[in-house]
């Protein structure tokens, strides 16, 4: 297993926002974390990333303990983060946004970095023409792509992606979905937080469903598809 | 807390000690104590904003100064005005200034509030220097006649005597502190605390936030003004440097922090410590700023509860057997 999270507990003040969260991801895998709003999906990603310090629990990544480290150390260990709402730097150009993804990461690969600007431009052709444009002037879908590309620039072996399809039109959602599949083929494993069930099911092999602050279900996609009542319990009205 | 017989006796002893104080300490230390009293009142009035309402006022000296000037100018031009009238006019001037500036201040908070008060303080300071026709510039208003304290037409006490002034200011400051403490116990007092902890919620609970803040400013301004008025009577002189200077605002903040923010007694303890230390420091060093600065840094870095907080910690550790 590439990432093993065990008994993670996180608090916001008095709120016990994550209660004994455990999950794992194998190398090259896409795993989806699903659940309604406010259940703690984003908090899980933020806790893994160190943006919120978990109070207890362990986060093992390639055998190294990450819990308690500051975010930049975790990013340097090889985890890329694509946050909710994209969070591109609107006052920076597209190219600067991409460079930001690379600045803090030391290249450990002898053969040179896997993801370079040229390769990113190959995968996201729209960026070539707009590379000098401030990121706040590009569309939501493009911002989502930029956010993903920015994370890739750090050559991560695991991507944490938070709601990539949110607020995007169906066509764009499909584009994002295809890009993620493509990236996964390049050997990057993905922990995907989604509320778009179809996207999640399309991409992931395994699914975690979150209830309030805990993981309520874990199984293969096939099993979930076969049990609509579980889906209804965790996701629907 | 219940008032027991022990408390009563301790209170009586304390009162007796205070009453006898001048005769044991002499004029210098009596005056020093009066200074402490005035700054305790001033600090406590700032504390109403700082600890009870959560507003960092960097320009509290403006209320103090205006109070001092009002009293001094009244006695300069109307020597027969009467002591308590003069004191009340000073206090009201502080309150009035607070009323005037609150429309600007209630809209901002935090850093912007601090800076805005700083600017207002500086503006008034410059105005005091510039309006020579009224304020006599940097010389200040001095040498005005200080009326005797007339009690119901029966007794007339000359308060220019240091001991008499000591008792007079003890009564005034004691009353002022009691009134402020009482304020914090009233329904409005709990609204103040509410504003400190969560102004937004107070608003949603149906209390008019800007108006409530205005009332707090006015109360705080009133007591700061009365401290200023007392200062004017004590020194028989008010000058921009002495009453209106930003350094005075800082002094009050230092007192609150050193004494212990968040408690009522804090600024009083702070005033005692700072007046005492300053009196000591003056004899041995000219570097009073170094002293105060280091003290501030220490308090903020290591014991944010100030000396009262320290005392409580010590009591919690060793006091309960």
């Amino acid at each position: 297993m590439q990432l093993v999270v065990k008994d993670l507990n996180t608090f916001y003040g008095a709120i016990h926002a994550l209660q004994n969260i455990s999950l794992s991801i194998a190398e090259g895998e896409i795993v989806a974390l699903l659940g309604r709003n406010g259940m703690g999906k984003s908090t899980t990603l933020k806790s893994i990333m160190g943006i919120i310090k978990p109070r207890s629990g362990s986060i093992q990544f390639n055998g190294n303990e990450l819990a308690g480290l500051p975010p930049h150390k975790i990013a340097q260990a090889g985890i890329g983060y694509v946050p909710e709402d994209r969070q591109v730097f609107g006052n920076l150009t597209i190219e600067e946004n991409l460079m930001m993804g690379q600045m803090g990461i030391k290249n450990k690969n002898a053969a040179g970095p896997k993801w370079t600007l040229d390769r990113i431009y190959e995968h996201f052709p729209f960026m070539v023409k707009k590379h000098g444009l401030k990121a706040r002037f590009i569309s939501g879908g493009e911002q989502q792509m930029l956010s993903i590309a920015r994370a890739l620039m750090g050559n991560p072996s695991l991507l944490l992606i938070d709601e990539p399809s949110e607020g995007l039109s169906p066509i764009i959602v499909n584009e994002v979905r295809d890009i993620l599949a493509e990236i996964n083929k390049e050997g990057v494993s993905v922990l995907l937080v989604e509320h778009n069930y179809k996207v999640a099911v399309y991409l992931a092999k395994r699914i975690y469903l979150m209830g309030k602050a805990h993981i309520g279900y874990e199984n293969s996609v096939g099993h979930l598809e076969a049990h609509p009542e579980i889906r209804s319990q965790f996701l629907e009205v | 807390m219940k008032i027991t017989k022990g408390h009563f006796i301790i209170g009586l002893l304390l009162l007796a000690a205070l009453a006898a104080y001048p005769f044991f300490s002499g004029v210098v230390y009596t005056n020093l104590f009066v200074r402490f009293l005035i700054f305790a009142l001033f600090g406590a009035s700032l504390n109403l904003l700082l600890s009870y309402t959560g507003l960092l006022n960097f320009g509290h000296a403006m209320f103090f100064g205006v109070g001092g000037y009002a009293t001094a100018l009244l006695l300069e031009h109307m020597p027969n005005a009467g002591l308590l009238t003069a004191l009340f006019v000073g206090a009201s001037a502080g309150a009035l200034l607070a009323l005037i500036v609150s429309p600007m201040l209630v809209r901002v908070r935090d850093t912007a509030f601090a800076l805005m008060t700083l600017a207002l303080n500086q503006l008034l300071f410059i105005a005091c220097l510039k309006l020579r026709g009224i304020t006599y510039g940097e010389d200040g208003v001095g040498g005005f006649s200080i009326p005797p304290l007339n009690l119901f037409g029966l007794v007339s006490v000359d308060i220019t005597h240091p001991y008499n002034f000591f008792y007079f200011s003890l009564c005034i400051v004691g009353l002022g502190l009691f009134l402020m403490w009482y304020t914090t116990r009233t329904p409005f007092g709990s609204i103040m605390i509410g504003i400190r902890d969560n102004p937004n919620r107070v608003n949603y609970l149906g209390f008019n936030l800007p108006f409530s803040k205005t009332v707090i400013f006015t109360i705080s301004g009133f007591f700061a003004g009365s401290a200023g008025a007392l200062f004017a009577l004590f020194q028989n002189l008010v000058s921009p440097d002495a009453v209106m200077h930003i350094q005075n605002s800082f002094t009050a903040i230092i007192m609150v922090f050193v004494g212990g923010i968040g408690t009522f007694i804090g600024p009083i303890v702070g005033a005692a410590i700072m007046t005492g230390l300053e009196n000591l420091a003056v004899r041995y060093t000219e570097k009073i700023f170094l002293f105060n600065g280091l003290l501030l840094i220490m308090v903020v870095m290591f014991f944010r509860g100030g000396f009262v907080g320290l005392y409580n910690l010590a009591k919690a550790k060793w006091g309960s057997k």
């Binding site: - | 940097e138 020194q235 440097d241």
Partner: protein
């Protein structure tokens, strides 16, 4: 009938007698009650302002009221060697006999912080706790006023040798315990106006600090200039805020008005900044001033920039000592100065001139009064000092009995190129323009009127 011969004889005898009488009386009337005698000065070779040993015990205690902390603390530092120089001198001679006992002089520091309230508190502490016999000081008229009030309240004499407001000794503020040995505003400006009365400059620009002192100086200069030089023109008058950040806008305005002389009463740092900005901007006209006398700054600015400074003061010697006593004191002090360490190794202490000189002379006067009163009792000191005439270093100083204002000649000095080797082994100014032309304005020409309400003060007694 008496013969005409007899009458002539009587007349001549009477004339003779009266001449004799006159010869005796007039010099007696003109000679001082006392005078400064340089020959009595002790060997000062062991004087070091950094290591002053204050005697303790039964001493004559002088409260040195000065700005010792805050931004103005250099002021308090400046006069520390002065008062201790005199105390050291007298203590080495064995002290002064007061109340039948020979006592040494002890200087006790009091910090005014340049704040009235602090000054008051400190003054009371010095009186009540340290039991000082007399106050010496202090800069800032508003501080001096406070000190004067405290002095009167506790009946402790106070020599004001540093604050120069006219108002300090007027009807309203006068008290018997305060003696002003420094010239007041009127004296300064009368002297300066008369200096210009005989000179060709016609157009004056007044730039002073925007507070009471600045305004009263500016107004007084304009007033006395109109009296003594009716054809003079004030081409501009401005008052700038204290601690002005940038003098350039004012100087642009001044240069556009093209004055022959710029008058300013600015003290530091404003005075220095004004001078520097003026010279940097090419304004080379004379600057008539009182307090732009900081030698360290002048040295940094150099010879050209410090030329054409016209300074008016009760004590100016420059490189032109008028008596051997001045020369001896200057030389003696300078010799000692060479051995002093920081902060007293600064250039401003190198010669006891201008402010240092004046306070030095006044301090000698003060101790002379105590010596003659033979007491530290306030009443005795007052009775000696009132109407006293003292031949000081720069001429006769008379303490006018009515208002306790000292009357004496004033000096106007103008800076020019430094002259070499004025004093044994040293030039007066090195690397900057020193005062080398001193004009004396005799005392009678700069005697201010006695305030109306004080004229009859002594008669009613």
């Amino acid at each position: 009938m008496v013969s005409s011969k007899k009458i002539r004889y009587c007349l001549s005898v009477a004339m003779f007698i009266s001449l004799f009488l006159l010869a005796g009386i007039v010099p007696a009337a003109m000679s001082a009650n006392a005078s400064f005698n340089i020959d009595k000065m002790s060997d000062m070779s062991d004087f070091d302002p950094n290591a002053v040993q204050q005697p303790t015990g039964d001493t004559i205690k002088i409260g040195y009221m000065a700005i010792l902390s805050g931004p103005g603390a250099s002021n308090g530092e400046l006069f520390w060697p002065v008062i201790n120089w005199v105390a050291h001198d007298i203590n080495k001679r064995g002290g002064i006999v007061v109340d039948g006992k020979k006592k040494l002089i002890q200087i006790i520091k009091g910090d005014t912080q340049s704040k009235p309230a602090a000054a008051k508190q400190e003054a009371e502490r010095l009186i009540l706790e340290e039991k000082v016999h007399m106050f010496w000081g202090t800069s800032g008229s508003h501080i001096a006023k406070v000190l004067s009030d405290v002095a009167a309240k506790y009946k402790v004499p106070f020599m004001n040798c540093l604050a120069l407001s006219d108002e300090l000794m007027n009807e309203k503020n006068f008290n018997r315990y305060t003696f002003q040995t420094i010239s007041n505003t009127t004296q300064w400006n009368m002297a300066l106006a008369q200096y210009y009365a005989d000179r060709p400059e016609k157009n004056f620009y007044i730039l002073c600090q925007d507070y009471l002192y600045g305004h009263s100086m500016g107004t007084a200069f304009a007033k006395w200039l109109a009296v003594y030089k009716p054809d003079a023109k004030i081409v501009g008058e401005d008052y700038h805020e204290l601690f002005l950040k940038d003098f350039a806008p004012f100087l642009t305005k001044i240069m556009a008005a093209r004055p022959d002389v710029l008058y300013t009463a600015d003290w530091s740092p404003d005075g220095n900044n004004l001078l520097r900005t003026a010279r940097n901007m090419g304004f080379s006209q004379p600057i008539a001033n009182i307090y732009i006398t900081d030698t360290d700054t002048q040295k940094a600015l150099g010879v050209e920039a410090t030329k054409n400074l016209v300074v008016c003061y009760p004590f100016i010697i420059g490189d032109n000592p008028q008596t051997p006593a001045q020369k001896k004191l200057m030389t003696e002090w300078h010799k000692r100065w060479l051995t002093w360490k920081a902060p007293f190794n600064k250039l401003i202490y190198s010669w006891p001139d201008v402010t240092i000189g004046q306070t030095l002379a006044d301090t000698y006067w003060m101790f002379d009064i105590i010596e003659r009163a033979a007491s530290t009792d306030a009443e005795k000191i007052i009775s000696v000092w009132e109407g006293d005439e003292y031949e000081g270093l720069t001429g006769m100083h008379k303490m006018r009995a009515e208002d306790h204002q000292a009357i004496f000649p004033m000096f106007v000095g103008a800076t020019g190129y430094p002259t070499k080797e004025v004093y044994p082994g040293a030039p007066y100014a090195d690397g900057f323009s020193g005062i080398n032309k001193v004009t004396t304005i005799p005392a009678e020409k700069c005697t201010p009127p006695i305030p109306e309400g004080l004229k009859d003060r002594l008669k009613n007694k």
